[in-house]
């Protein structure tokens, strides 16, 4: 199922999506482009290469209320806060970000216990993926090709969006996506020529040059386990690391969180919010024991979690090569070259 609309009528598309329910899309401000909950049809933009932060916030917000309670003399009753009431659309996700959802699913829906908050949002959210058009060049920090992700991969999207000359092509991938496109009756039918363009773009996306090394996930997992005890290596790699949480917070696959009760007078909320394995007190136990008191141990944990432990547990690398951590690291630590060095040690 292929539909299209002129790029000049993008606002109309947004208007129609906004009428259906909450919509997240990329918005530009003077600092760059980020996903936001859209209020006006004029806000979203498709003119960007990569958003500064990942769109994970639509499923895993920085801060999320889990349980509401009211302190009482006898029994304090808690009430679970249910997921979003309205079906949501996230528009403009790059292929690597779409891929991150499947990686996060393994954690949030696996291990024998489903996370109801993640599940509810996954169930009710439509993903409109957005392929990188052939003229848009990767920026040097990213390396999604190393993770075998194409610049115009549509897997994982419900609808796949791609620029073509003056048009926007919209391909229905899943039943949900096709249903959505069916509702948007003002869209035009795609032509056979559009179809051929789309197929060629997807194939071409596989060859888009980003930083690359030949990554064999299982071999990398084993190698990192072997390198794990090499403190000299990790100390050298981490000597610039300031142990902040930037890399984890902008990462589309970092999922660690903390839970805290926050009460104002008698009304309170138990909420979860992003946490980072890079923080000193992340593993600090009540006894005072901290298994990872040193910076290099925490950087090692982050790298190995993504490129070894996750592979061993779930069979995939927990990284999509979006390059955000590298781009925003205050001291220019680069996961790509770090892993490459470790694997080739």
């Amino acid at each position: 199922m292929l539909r299209k609309i002129e790029q000049g009528r993008f606002g109309e598309l947004i208007e129609a999506l906004l009428a259906r329910g909450p919509l997240y899309a990329p918005v530009r401000d003077d600092r760059g482009v980020n996903f936001q909950l859209i209020r006006k049809a004029s806000e979203p933009t498709l003119d960007f290469y990569n958003t500064l932060q990942s769109p994970k916030l639509a499923w895993f917000p920085q801060s999320e209320d889990l349980i509401r309670y009211r302190l009482a003399k006898g029994e304090t009753k808690g009430e679970a806060i249910s997921g979003p009431v309205a079906p949501t659309v996230v528009l403009g996700m790059r292929p690597w970000d779409v891929k991150s959802l499947a990686i996060m699913d393994l954690l949030f829906l696996g291990g024998g216990k489903e996370d109801p908050y993640w599940l509810e949002k996954r169930r009710l959210t439509t993903v409109i993926g957005y392929g990188l058009a052939s003229e848009e060049e990767p920026d040097g920090a990213d390396f999604f090709r190393t993770l075998n992700i194409g610049a115009a991969d549509s897997d994982g999207s419900d609808v796949f969006l791609l620029k073509k000359d003056g048009d926007l092509l919209l391909e229905g991938i899943t039943e949900r996506g096709k249903g959505l496109l069916g509702e948007l009756t003002f869209l035009k039918e795609g032509t056979e020529e559009d179809e051929r363009y789309l197929v060629a773009a997807k194939a071409g996306g596989k060859d888009r040059k980003t930083r690359f090394f030949d990554l064999d996930a299982n071999a990398a997992a084993d190698k990192l386990k072997a390198v794990f005890a090499d403190n000299t290596f990790w100390e050298k790699e981490a000597e610039g690391c300031i142990s902040c949480g930037t890399c984890t917070f902008v990462c589309p696959t970092c999922h660690c969180f903390d839970i805290a009760d926050e009460t104002l007078f008698r009304d309170g909320v138990r909420r979860r919010f992003w946490d980072a394995c890079m923080f000193t007190d992340f593993t600090l136990e009540a006894s005072g024991h901290n298994p990872r008191p040193r910076t290099f141990q925490r950087l090692r944990q982050k790298i190995c979690h993504k490129y070894s432990f996750y592979i061993e547990k779930f069979g995939v690398v927990s990284c999509v090569g979006c390059g955000r951590c590298t781009r925003l690291c205050p001291v220019n630590i680069d996961i790509f070259s770090l892993v490459a060095r470790a694997v080739n040690l």
Partner: protein, 285 residues
């Protein structure tokens, strides 16, 4: 002005010399990153390591932040103007000992923040061109900036109190609580930081606007009279909160009230620790 390439050569030479003679255990400087525009903080421990040192306009890091973690070691630190002020301030505060430090002074102008593309000057941060204290100077002295580093505050100071409050609330609303600002800051050495204490808990643990405001305002005030305007906090911030503007404003107040800027002279006492009879009493009223 000495070319960055020449500074790099002298830095390598000096580091090699110090390490070879065993005069220091390590040299905190800059090394190669994943490309030219993205160098990294680097610790040279052997004379072979010294070969890996680099210096270019993107070496903006304030290495005092690493030096303060090694108070007992004999170390050498590459220090540009503001970085040297940070070292001086840390010495004043008793966190570092002058005799344990070999300060490799780097006069530098035209440093560039790779992320924003902005030049480090009096309109941003780190405008101080020459190291205030050094053991070796790796380049020729430069003329200092002509304009006041506080001129950039004009626009914000022109706003009403409500306007400034609105400005900062909007900025703090974006805060991710990644703590890159405090982690990059050489003066933020409190252990534990008040934000990590749970009894009492000073601010919400989750990133609420009120908690963010509490965090930043408290941090600003903890740095009053101590901030050397190196700009690391602002460059580190992944969401570009212009923290330097607040720090500059407090620095300006301190300078006006006590006629002292942070980290300028080894013999100074930290301005809010020192008491002089002639001190103004405006802050008490």
């Amino acid at each position: 002005m000495t070319a960055f390439k020449d500074i790099e050569e002298r830095l390598k030479e000096k580091a090699k010399d110090l390490l070879e003679k065993g005069e220091v255990e390590c040299v905190f400087a800059y090394g190669r990153g994943y490309d030219e525009r993205h160098p990294r903080p680097y610790v040279a421990k052997t004379k072979e390591d010294a070969e890996n040192l680099v210096f270019n306009e993107y070496c903006t890091f304030n290495l005092a932040r690493y030096a303060v973690k090694e108070p007992r070691k004999k170390i050498a630190v590459a220090a540009k103007g503001a970085d040297s002020r940070a070292l001086v301030q840390l010495i004043q505060e008793g966190k570092l000992k002058r005799e344990n430090l070999v300060i490799l002074g780097i006069p530098a102008a035209g440093m560039v923040d790779a992320k924003s593309g902005l030049t480090l000057d009096e309109k941003t941060t780190g405008a101080f061109a020459n190291p205030v204290v050094y053991d070796v100077l790796l380049g020729d002295k430069l003329p200092e900036a002509k304009n006041s580093p506080y001129e950039v505050l004009g626009e914000l100071e022109g706003l009403s109190g409500d306007g400034r409050w609105e400005f900062w609330r909007k900025e703090f609303a974006r805060c991710l609580r990644c703590f890159a600002c405090r982690k990059a800051c050489p003066m933020c050495y409190c252990d534990p930081c008040f934000m990590d204490q749970s009894r009492p808990r000073w601010a919400d643990k989750s990133p609420t606007l009120d908690g963010n405001t509490m965090y930043h305002l408290t941090r600003f005030y903890h740095l009053a009279g101590r901030c050397v305007d190196c700009g690391e906090c602002t460059r580190a911030c992944p969401v570009d909160i212009p923290l330097y503007l607040f720090h500059k404003r407090l620095a300006k107040d301190c300078e006006e009230m006590f006629n002292q800027a942070a980290g300028m002279k080894l013999e100074d006492k930290p301005v809010l620790v020192d008491f002089r009879v002639e001190d103004g009493d405006e802050i008490l009223l």
